[in-house]
């Protein structure tokens, strides 16, 4: 084990550049998958004929495939149909689709958990369907969705590491390159990577726990 060598300023800069890419890809994918997942989740909740079922099928398929396969597809299969994506965009597309499918289910079950009586009351006091959804169902449902959403975001941040297979220069990839220089760097570098992932995710999970305590 060579901590001093592993943590030379060059290596540290290299690893932290990777950490930055991890955070960037995670952040963008969280935003996109949240938007996509919310839209799909609400459409499925509203039971729009045909569209809801079609989306349901796609969501089920995506949720039941390994993310790794989706990343491979986004990078290496999409060019065959004329869509050429660099590692970063391929990773973001795959993460957005996969996590978006997960989030769609969270949103749908969050909305479904709202008592039917609430909707009936709102409707019979003269609110239209959309206004009932917007003012009554969404605000309450959203609160219940927060804890599972945050754990999904934690999963997403961890899942960005799978993009090593398409050589996205994120934390895991950079760590492996540094380890490749000298095997004595293995443990120090893996430890550092673990600490970095842990810090962000643990902070997120603490936020989730506080929100949970506040809501329930």
């Amino acid at each position: 084990m060579d901590f001093a060598g592993a943590f030379s300023s060059d290596n540290l800069r290299f690893i932290f550049e990777g950490f930055y890419v991890t955070l960037k890809v995670a952040f963008l994918s969280i935003v996109f998958s949240f938007v996509l997942g919310s839209i799909v989740g609400v459409i499925r909740y509203m039971k729009v004929p045909a569209l809801s079922q079609a989306l349901g099928l796609i969501v089920e398929l995506l949720r039941n495939l390994p993310l790794l396969l989706l990343i491979f597809m986004a990078r290496f299969a999409l060019p065959d149909v004329g869509i050429q994506l660099g590692p970063m965009y391929a990773a973001i597309v795959a993460l957005t689709l996969f996590e978006g499918a997960m989030i769609a289910e969270i949103v749908r079950s969050g909305l479904n958990s709202i008592d039917k009586g609430q909707i009936e009351a709102a409707r019979s006091s003269g609110l239209g369907y959309m206004r009932t959804l917007w003012h009554i169902v969404l605000p309450q449902g959203l609160r219940r969705m927060v804890p599972p959403l945050v754990s999904q975001f934690i999963s997403l941040l961890k899942d960005t590491s799978l993009a090593v297979i398409i050589a996205l220069p994120e934390l895991m990839n950079q760590s492996k390159i540094v380890i490749g220089q000298n095997l004595n760097y293995t443990i120090p570098v893996l430890l550092l990577a673990a600490v970095l992932y842990f810090t962000v995710n643990y902070a997120l999970s603490l936020v989730a726990r506080r929100l949970e305590a506040k809501i329930v």
Binding site: N64, L69, F72, L190, A194, N201, S205
Partner: protein
């Protein structure tokens, strides 16, 4: 229309990967269930150091990527003079990672059994281990099964990380076929189909178990 010759010509290759994916998932499920149970018992134990070990294990492992856990074994063990192939390292990594989630599921199950049950068991002369074994765990199992079935589903999907360390799983062989034939889309679609054959029934069963439990409480 996909090119089925990519499937038929390489069927044995897919099958080897498919079977290895099943092996890795089943071995890791059994092992992580055992390890997860031990850790769950640690986490609720009245002995403080044990509780500490359990908590640190769960919190640490749950917040780092599976791939990192796998790398720790794949890159770390050779430093200790232990060289294992990708399949074994990957399965160990899967076990260690999944055990943290299973431990949490089991802990939630155990906590759902009223404290009075444990107290009654202890005061009728059972030891702590006996109380767990004969009174608490059998009741907890019912609550634990739906999240466990979800974990198994995740395990099957997660086993694809074996491919990153040449673990001879379905993803690994699929990728090989893709680079052999250049029929990338077709190959990946067949790989996807093989995964769905495993995961869709599991996910269906998990849904049903959940619903049944919700109905009967």
């Amino acid at each position: 229309m996909p090119d089925f010759s990519v499937l038929t010509d390489y069927f044995d290759v897919y099958m080897e990967g498919f079977l290895n994916t099943i092996y890795a998932s089943v071995i890791a499920l059994i092992a992580s269930f055992l390890l997860g149970t031990v850790i769950a018992v640690f986490r609720i134990s009245s002995v403080r150091p044990l509780r500490w070990v359990g908590t640190v294990y769960v919190e640490f492992i749950r917040n780092i990527p599976l791939l990192l856990v796998v790398y720790i074994f794949f890159l770390g063990l050779p430093l200790l003079g232990i060289t294992l192939n990708g399949f074994v390292c990957g399965t160990i990594g899967l076990t260690v990672y999944t055990a943290a989630f299973i431990a949490e599921a089991i802990r939630a199950g155990i906590m759902s059994v009223p404290k009075g049950q444990t107290e009654a068991a202890l005061s009728s002369g059972l030891t702590y281990v006996q109380a767990m074994r004969y009174v608490v765990l059998p009741q907890a199992v019912k609550i634990v099964i739906p999240p466990l079935s979800n974990q198994f589903l995740n395990l099957v999907k997660n086993s694809s990380v074996l491919s990153v360390i040449a673990g001879l799983d379905l993803m690994y062989f699929g990728d090989k076929v893709a680079s052999d034939t250049y029929a990338t889309i077709d190959t990946y679609l067949f790989v996807a189909a093989f995964y769905l054959v495993l995961t869709l029934p599991l996910s269906f069963a998990a849904h049903r178990l959940e619903r049944r439990l919700a109905k009967h409480g």
